[in-house]
């Protein structure tokens, strides 16, 4: 790659993946980059929500230049600071960054490199989302459960620990032929009865 030099770089920006009205042209989209400040973005969104509370009902957060963690943190901070319950809908799409590398020597052809960068879109709405769009990517700020926890519980309940213990118990029971295993209570009682009978017989013989 020593003889190659990047000559052209184009970025194919993804379109808003949400259905209307969240992808409307007049929808407020907050672009969050790595250098964005939480306080500035969140105070702007707060003002936007409060200036006309009947019209401004949702905001879309969009990450730029791979600042997905920043966008998520920004939304999480805003949800904690905002008094009302907020409804969140998250989607991830890819933006393509195409870089053309030109060869400085004659002969080898140019290289076209395509890098896919994840872009996160988060809708923060003051109203619940319509029922027809209902999916597991939606959540509410008043939810205190960890994401996807009901599924975890279900899978955890039928999980491996109890299943692993059962065959061990079975193995112990099948080991009855082994003389080194600890005798069960019934076996011990039977042995004691036999011993007592033998003692009685010996005592009877000695008395005669």
């Amino acid at each position: 790659m020593d003889n190659y030099v990047p000559s052209d770089e184009t970025t194919v920006e993804p379109s808003n993946p949400f259905p209307p009205p969240y992808n409307a042209e007049d929808a407020k989209v907050m672009l969050v980059s790595k250098s964005s400040k939480f306080s500035k973005i969140n105070s702007y969104v707060r003002e936007y929500f409060t200036e006309s509370s009947d019209r401004n009902r949702f905001v879309v957060f969009k990450s730029t230049n791979g600042a997905t963690e920043k966008a998520i943190s920004c939304v999480e901070v805003f949800k904690q600071q905002f008094e009302e319950p907020l409804y969140q809908w998250t989607r991830v799409v890819c933006s393509k960054r195409i870089v053309l590398w030109k060869c400085q020597q004659e002969g080898p052809r140019d290289i076209r490199v395509t890098v896919e960068v994840p872009v996160i879109f988060i809708v923060i709405s003051r109203d619940p989302f319509p029922g027809e769009y209902s999916c597991m990517s939606m959540q509410c700020s008043s939810d205190k459960e960890i994401a996807f926890l009901p599924n975890n519980r279900a899978s955890h309940g039928s999980g491996g620990k109890s299943d692993k213990k059962k065959p061990k118990k079975g193995n112990r029971k099948t080991n009855e032929g082994n003389k080194w295993t600890k005798p069960s209570s019934e076996q011990r009682k039977n042995e004691q009865k036999e011993r007592n009978q033998l003692l009685k017989e010996i005592e009877g013989l000695s008395a005669q």
Binding site: G66, T68, E69, I72, S73, V75, E76, Q80, Q88, T90, R91, V92, C94, E116, P118, I120, I122, C135, M136, S137, Q139, I146, A147, F148, L149, N151, N152, S155, H156, G159
Partner: protein, 131 residues
């Protein structure tokens, strides 16, 4: 010598006399279909593991990433989704995870303080789409 942390409300502490030990965050589940992405995770090898899980053992997997590894977790999830074409779909949720740090005085090892830290996390649910 006293720890500055205990006397000042500031989050800073003297790094010369104190050591910060980060406790590992609580995992939502220990099941094998939960994959936790860290900064050290190799995405390529983990993608193969996820493929094997979805092909052989499970109909759904969960990918978790927090803090600096959020972007990596999303890249990983999209890579798995891309490899399966349209047969695997994803749901994404975000949350805040409370992490605990221990600040231990190097002069007096019995003296320590805990500090809580909020870290953003992402959870991706990948599942086989019903045809």
């Amino acid at each position: 010598m006293s720890i500055r942390m205990s006397t000042t409300p500031s989050k800073r502490f003297d790094e010369k006399t104190n050591d910060m030990r980060r406790r590992p965050p609580v995992k939502p589940s220990g099941d094998p279909n939960h994959i936790y992405i860290t900064r050290k995770t190799n995405v390529e090898s983990q993608t193969k593991t996820a493929e094997e899980l979805l092909n052989n053992a499970f109909d759904e997997i969960f990918i978790h990433g927090m803090g600096a590894s959020v972007n990596k977790a999303l890249v990983f999830a999209m890579e798995v989704e891309r490899k399966f074409g349209g047969s695997v779909k994803s749901d994404i949720q975000t949350s805040t995870v409370q992490c605990t740090d221990d600040i231990v005085s190097l002069l007096d090892l019995d003296q320590s303080e805990t500090r809580h830290r909020s870290v953003s996390a992402v959870h991706v649910h990948l599942y086989r789409a019903s045809s």
